[in-house]
Symmetry: D4
Subunit: 163 residues, 8 copies
Amino acid sequence: MPTTIVTGKNRAVTDVTLDDTNKLIIEHLQRDGRMSYATLAKTIGLSEAAVRQRVQRLLDNGLMQIVAVTDPLTLGFARQAMVGLRVNGDLRAIADKIAEIPEVDYVVICAGRYDLLVELVCTDDEHLLDILNEKLRAIHGVSETDTFMYLRLAKQTYAWGTR
Amino acid sequence: MPTTIVTGKNRAVTDVTLDDTNKLIIEHLQRDGRMSYATLAKTIGLSEAAVRQRVQRLLDNGLMQIVAVTDPLTLGFARQAMVGLRVNGDLRAIADKIAEIPEVDYVVICAGRYDLLVELVCTDDEHLLDILNEKLRAIHGVSETDTFMYLRLAKQTYAWGTR
Amino acid sequence: MPTTIVTGKNRAVTDVTLDDTNKLIIEHLQRDGRMSYATLAKTIGLSEAAVRQRVQRLLDNGLMQIVAVTDPLTLGFARQAMVGLRVNGDLRAIADKIAEIPEVDYVVICAGRYDLLVELVCTDDEHLLDILNEKLRAIHGVSETDTFMYLRLAKQTYAWGTR
Amino acid sequence: MPTTIVTGKNRAVTDVTLDDTNKLIIEHLQRDGRMSYATLAKTIGLSEAAVRQRVQRLLDNGLMQIVAVTDPLTLGFARQAMVGLRVNGDLRAIADKIAEIPEVDYVVICAGRYDLLVELVCTDDEHLLDILNEKLRAIHGVSETDTFMYLRLAKQTYAWGTR
Amino acid sequence: MPTTIVTGKNRAVTDVTLDDTNKLIIEHLQRDGRMSYATLAKTIGLSEAAVRQRVQRLLDNGLMQIVAVTDPLTLGFARQAMVGLRVNGDLRAIADKIAEIPEVDYVVICAGRYDLLVELVCTDDEHLLDILNEKLRAIHGVSETDTFMYLRLAKQTYAWGTR
Amino acid sequence: MPTTIVTGKNRAVTDVTLDDTNKLIIEHLQRDGRMSYATLAKTIGLSEAAVRQRVQRLLDNGLMQIVAVTDPLTLGFARQAMVGLRVNGDLRAIADKIAEIPEVDYVVICAGRYDLLVELVCTDDEHLLDILNEKLRAIHGVSETDTFMYLRLAKQTYAWGTR
Amino acid sequence: MPTTIVTGKNRAVTDVTLDDTNKLIIEHLQRDGRMSYATLAKTIGLSEAAVRQRVQRLLDNGLMQIVAVTDPLTLGFARQAMVGLRVNGDLRAIADKIAEIPEVDYVVICAGRYDLLVELVCTDDEHLLDILNEKLRAIHGVSETDTFMYLRLAKQTYAWGTR
Amino acid sequence: MPTTIVTGKNRAVTDVTLDDTNKLIIEHLQRDGRMSYATLAKTIGLSEAAVRQRVQRLLDNGLMQIVAVTDPLTLGFARQAMVGLRVNGDLRAIADKIAEIPEVDYVVICAGRYDLLVELVCTDDEHLLDILNEKLRAIHGVSETDTFMYLRLAKQTYAWGTR
């Protein structure tokens, strides 16, 4: 299963200017990712070709990805959890190693009680235990894991707008 | 800023069958949310009209949303953080209250050291402090907050497939 | 659902002597609770009537209960958890209050980081959240809950013998 | 001292259907494990032979065990404790290793602050210290133990019914 | 049971000079509290009357107490524990309140994770639970207690000499 | 500096009966360790020779020690601290190793967040740091130390009576 | 004792341009705060009057303060400590309240296990206890304090240069 | 970037008497480090030469340093953090090793949950992560880091006077 990884390293490597028009395009697509170029063009006041080109460049430069976001539960993933990790060794290298696990959909290096926060999407308890035990904890340098099982998702949005 | 809230409550209220064809459609759109109906139809082996209808029903029933996902940093949100909360009182009611804060893009009720995990997307430290202090901690029942500032995002994917 | 509560208070209120014969009877029944009185009598070297009377007195005095013990999972209880609690107020009164919740099968007052340990047997995540939220945390004096979700039961035995 | 170990692995390996009649039988035996086949048969409305056969199959398949459950204290075990463990290495292998200690009557792999929860039944403090020091902590991979001494058992039941 | 309380407040209120001779006397009595005045006098090189007067003044001024120190266990106190407390309110007032509990033989205000450390000497678990529950935790301002049950005393000395 | 170590191991090795008379003697000496044999004899109603013999046997068997107890502060020890330790390895062996440090006046193996509690009596901060750094933490198996500096001693008594 | 408070609020209120010359001046004064205007002028290549004016404006705008920094210990402040605080209520208001305590020389609102970090400079243990007990913990909203006593200062510098 | 390190070791190595006049001089310079010798002389009632000599000796002996103290933020250091460390090994040696990192402006050995407190001054998140990951955590013996990101500095003063 190929995954689209957005890493901090790649953030700066882009030549697209985030002008007000691009921000406006992003805000519309944050709410409806399949809005047609025609509708976008009319709303923004540009030609359809110009809008299409802008969207394509935003995608090509990794500033934006347009994806289907689903509730894991309805797709057969009954067990989700956040794992707080204490690690010994190179934080970036360990984070990248963890990112290779397909059941991991989220890895962040953070400040505080944990060195890393990792989200897991699994089918059931045995699957979760497999991932924790044979994949996550088996990575060299992982010394402590605190697992927060999800009981209920109350909000998940991607429409945070632009500044 | 309007937000698209997916709550646990709404999960079961749907009449769409998640058959293998729907799962296949979802998997393609998880990787490219703007894939044309024509391409989808050809890949899956259905008519374009049938594919279009299926996609529409998946969206209408809230089983899937297609959205632009961006790196908050490039859009001017320099401060992201996960907050672990201890609360007193009704977990669901407090979670729903927190979900109303626009800067909160993620709320989950969980088991473990924290009762809730909440993600914040802010422009800078003062903004983050404002949200923590005047919004999150001001909600009745929130008794402890542990803030994990993000130093580097190493992976974020939505392509977890289907089971 | 009626429950059989063994409390510390009642421990001393008994007039049965735990002599070596009674201990031997208990050790056999710890391994096979339905062993017939005939077999028990032969093994121990007493008359069947004497054995039957001893067993009955052990049961009547609450020194022993003979019960079917099952794996909750196979009976439709997919979510089990231990909850560590910090409480304010009378430990015994709060423990007794918690013991009234049917989904609670185990309550112990302990020394250490938690004041009480409580085991829950639930059907699914929403059920577990209901018990936590509307029953356990709603009891006056409960100030903090740490929930340990069970991923896999590795041992459960009642045959600890006698001393 | 032989012990009856119920492991997660064996849970699925059974060919008994848990129909409503079996559930009814279990619920009766959860309250009185020595209820006679005659009484069971009359209550449920089956022949005594049919009931006997069903009970036997439930026992043979490990779906149910009928055992004498006693208060450890009255049998000379004055020290009981729950131990929360942090471990390094294979959770399942370490859990199985711990399950071999006779004084351990309960081992569960869990999510949260601890990796494992282990219950100990001992005769006195020196015995408890021996088990902790020479057996539990001596197992390779056990890195931290938090011991919760029991002060008072407030509830212990096995009659959680069926779903 | 009367108790001899040594408080920090009283420390400075004394007119005895702790000269080298007094220090020498203390060091001898730290090892043998019943050493006769004759022996003390000979060892130190003073008259018996002078030694007797010095000892008396050290006792009268509370700089030294000579007491029988016993192992609580051999005197029927089978349960000893240190309790770490978090409190709200005046540390000194709460410490003094706790010091009034006869089963408390030691109270110290400290810096770190706990505000106070309190040692308890009890006869058994129920006694310990009574003290914790009805006395210690019932004091206004005590918000959290962490109880460390003693498993084995490895060293206890009062012969720390002088400087 | 010689130290009087009372270890758990030696507790049982005694042939003195702790009858009511002995308990009465101890209670008197807990309050005044230098009470004369004449006064003791009169109060208890025995001959002076009998009392002297009993006291001597209590001392010889290590059931009681009579010592000068002083406030460390007035003797030039300005820094006292309790240290909570996490250790890897044999608890008893490590406790005995720590007991050899002269500045340590108290070592107990306990249950809870710490494996050992150790009290230090030092002259100043640099001395305390020396003991922590070069002695306590240098012992093989000591993995974590939490130091609780004493701010004020509110109670210290040895008169816990007998049961 | 008057104190010079630098608050985050005032940071932005300035009209001084931090050009390279100003940065150079600051870097010199970070190492020697009493460097004469003549020496500064020669090193930087400006007139003495221009340098004097620039220094004055940096001071007037609060971008820089030139102060005597001393080791508290040599001035009679034998007890220094960092205090981590958990608070309920408005973080900024509580921080400002704490900042009014003369013995507090440092207050920062932070993310993580503590809401605030506060440094205290005191003369001795009783003074420290007074400040903790009667001033810091007496402020409404302060719910938990963790005190880290300083054992040894290993580095303190203000010469962090400019960027 | 040269740094001025004040270590505990050097504290005692001085021959300057801290008489009342020297204390008065220090108190004035704590408030205005560039106060002219003329003004100082007039205020204190000494000759300008005497004041100049005294100031010079205070500086030469390291009892006082006069430096420009700035808000790191205005000089381009947008990320400040306190790091609490758990370490294995010689506390003084590790503290000295950490003190060599230029971005570290503060290192203290302390008692409590952490062994060391270290303050970092960085330009941005990536810089902070670099220091944490490649410098601080790479030092042999550093086993755990808890990072407290600064959200807002509420007080920073050096005018603590003298005693």
